[in-house]
Symmetry: C2
Subunit: 406 residues, 2 copies
């Protein structure tokens, strides 16, 4: 694409010479020695027969973000980097709206200040528009997913162990993080296009519901990873605290492992969904009789609530050696009694997304079992409204932006 | 012993008939079909050549306790139960003063109210005075130890797994716990004698320093157990928060495993002890430069401080998958940031003493390696003074009551 005119078919080669590219159905004419565009053999999922050339200069895309914590989310133009040898350029099809997005768009987290303007979104499903010369995992037309991170050093102990989010040199998260490649801050998936290193683009199995798979990239892996790490087994009792975007996926994932799942919710209106999602029951936090009945019963609790709340009633339902894994609260934890942890060797832990290998494993696991999120599609001009509804707990259970409907 | 006259040599037999027992050096005249007193073959450690008959009725012993949270600890008479078939009657030689004793004597813990009068003490070393007919682990004259518990159901899953403190029917702790055998509340080791079921009496290896071994029964096992459970290995970095009775034993135990130990203390006067105890260094909590230098370095922290304190600075020195194990704070935990746990999958856990098999393993481990507590002996009339000095952090590092000096 020409950086002067913005035309994606106007290619600038490695020597700075420009020419008009040919964009043909299923075929791409590439320019630039380091860049190879592979013929797009559209797979069964591909709805596009047109594949563009890989850009060798930064190029603009439309995106949806805001300029301050109190300003609305509006369309704007942001730049994506030139496609390097290992990069994949995705046309974003769907992007889930995660509560973390709200934290950043509204800059409500003292420990994670927002650099405005910001474009959030890290539950991204897209179609490969172009690839760099060294890319082997994708071809043009494939479907790829991007979660909460887009870069890491790739050489440290953690990266080599597939825990890129704990990269010793600092992982680059999908938005509001200093971008070591392009400078500035990263911009997320509320965008019509994104360029991401191949390693951080997940394969999406053919045949899955793409929109409903998008939330697995964050909500899914965030709740799957603790089940793996704390080795949730069939027959064990697991509680899911908070039945929102993360919580409802956690219930499905835990149930799929044969665990005995209980939902803890503050919303009477959600109780009826328990069995459909795979839980034994849903218990209201306010139901002190039920909470007492459940004392000491649980092996694992996954707390998906994004705001601080008194945790002791839940620690009380943990059994011996039980663990409450908080994946939601990013502020101070409230109401944890030392003695109650001591007597039954209980733990309160945290867990963050998962590495790329684990995320791929989750996506493959879900594709095999037809596990997806329960979603409501919204358009790009409905993002603020969707966020407000999330804050009012008025979503069953994840909003996903349909970029094609923008 | 006659329950009317209190004379240990005045034996009441199974038929309620009383007669004068013969108490001879190395030999015991027994009464009661269910009771057998074994000849006391005094071992190398036994300083006594006089062994009394096993009592078949409750009998009085002198003990040191108090009548209210504000009253001093004074001598009094309490009753010990008749010696059942599985019971061991110990003459208490030494009893450590644990911070838990202060909590109970001064009734300062809302979640664990004290029933007064109370006699505390659960780091007990004694000489076997008499045994029940079914006792096989001890003979009269042997040395035995008693820690923080004296009874459990013996048949539940936890008891069978050697985790008697988590007995599903409720373990009986050594003091201030409803006594399922005798009624009333249990009375601890600040006493000249105690009757405990054989299973809860630990073997003490010949040749050890008995007074300095007493604290291992609580301080030792409380810090050893988390090292076992969280699998502290040679070369790992472990921090011990608080250098008191538990802390200094924790340092010795961790160092004995080849771990790289750092002490976190509030007492500048204790820094010099670090290397002698086996630590790499001692860091003052107030040393923000050192705390920053240590960020992300530790695999395991064992927090022995008995009062709530802000935990976040310590969570910050934990590395990936690190765990802070609190064995001291029994009130609300303070200052734990959710995000800091999330990003590096850190945990805050609790741990309580250890089961009888693990406690025996600890005692054997320490005997082999000559690990004991650093102690200061006190007399029974110095208990209050010792407790006040503990609260003022003026002890290096454990007070032990010398009952023979009473």
């Amino acid at each position: 694409m020409c950086e002067n005119c913005g035309d994606l078919t106007h290619i600038v080669d490695a020597n700075g010479m420009s020419r008009r590219g040919l964009v043909l159905g299923g075929a791409t004419l590439m320019a630039g020695a380091a860049l190879v565009a592979v013929s797009g053999e559209a797979n069964a999922q591909s709805r596009s027969t047109t594949v563009a050339a890989a850009a060798i200069r930064p190029f603009p895309v439309r995106a949806w973000g805001n300029d301050s914590a109190t300003s609305p989310i509006t369309v704007r133009q942001i730049m994506r980097r030139a496609i390097g040898p290992n990069d994949v350029h995705l046309d974003v099809l769907y992007c889930g709206i995660c509560h973390s997005d709200i934290h950043q768009n509204r800059d409500d987290t003292p420990s994670q200040r927002t650099t405005f303007p910001v474009v959030t979104g890290h539950e991204i499903i897209g179609r490969v528009r172009a690839i760099g010369s060294a890319v082997t995992k994708f071809k043009v037309g494939d479907i790829g997913g991007v979660g909460a991170m887009v870069d890491s050093c790739g050489t440290c102990k953690q990266c080599l162990a597939g825990r890129e989010m704990n990269c010793e040199k600092g992982a680059t998260f999908t938005y509001n993080t200093p971008d070591k490649i392009s400078g500035g801050m990263t911009s997320g998936g509320y965008s019509e296009g994104i360029v991401v290193a191949e390693h951080f683009v997940l394969r999406i199995s053919p045949g899955v519901n793409l929109a409903a798979t998008a939330p697995l990239l964050c909500a899914g892996i965030t709740t799957f990873s603790p089940m793996q790490h704390w080795e949730l087994e069939a027959g064990q009792r697991v509680g899911v605290i908070g039945l929102g975007g993360l919580g409802h996926v956690a219930v499905k994932l835990a149930a799929s492992r044969g665990a005995d799942v209980t939902i803890f919710t503050t919303s009477p209106g959600k109780v009826a969904d328990a069995q459909r999602l795979g839980a034994r029951e849903a218990v209201l936090w306010s139901d002190t009789v039920a909470m007492k009945r459940l004392a000491g019963q649980f092996d694992l609790l996954i707390s998906t609530v994004p705001q601080p709340y008194p945790m002791q009633p839940f620690i009380d339902v943990l059994g011996l050696d039980g663990t409450l894994v908080n994946v939601g609260v990013i502020d101070g934890l409230q109401d944890i009694n030392g003695l109650s942890l001591i007597f039954s060797r209980k733990s309160v832990a945290g867990s963050v997304i998962g590495g790329i290998p684990e995320t791929q494993a989750l996506l493959d696991y879900c594709a095999l079992r037809n596990i997806t999120a329960d979603i409501e599609l919204v358009r790009t001009n409905q993002i603020d409204e969707a966020m407000n509804r999330m804050l009012n707990k008025n979503v069953r259970y994840r909003f996903v932006i349909d970029m094609a409907a923008a």
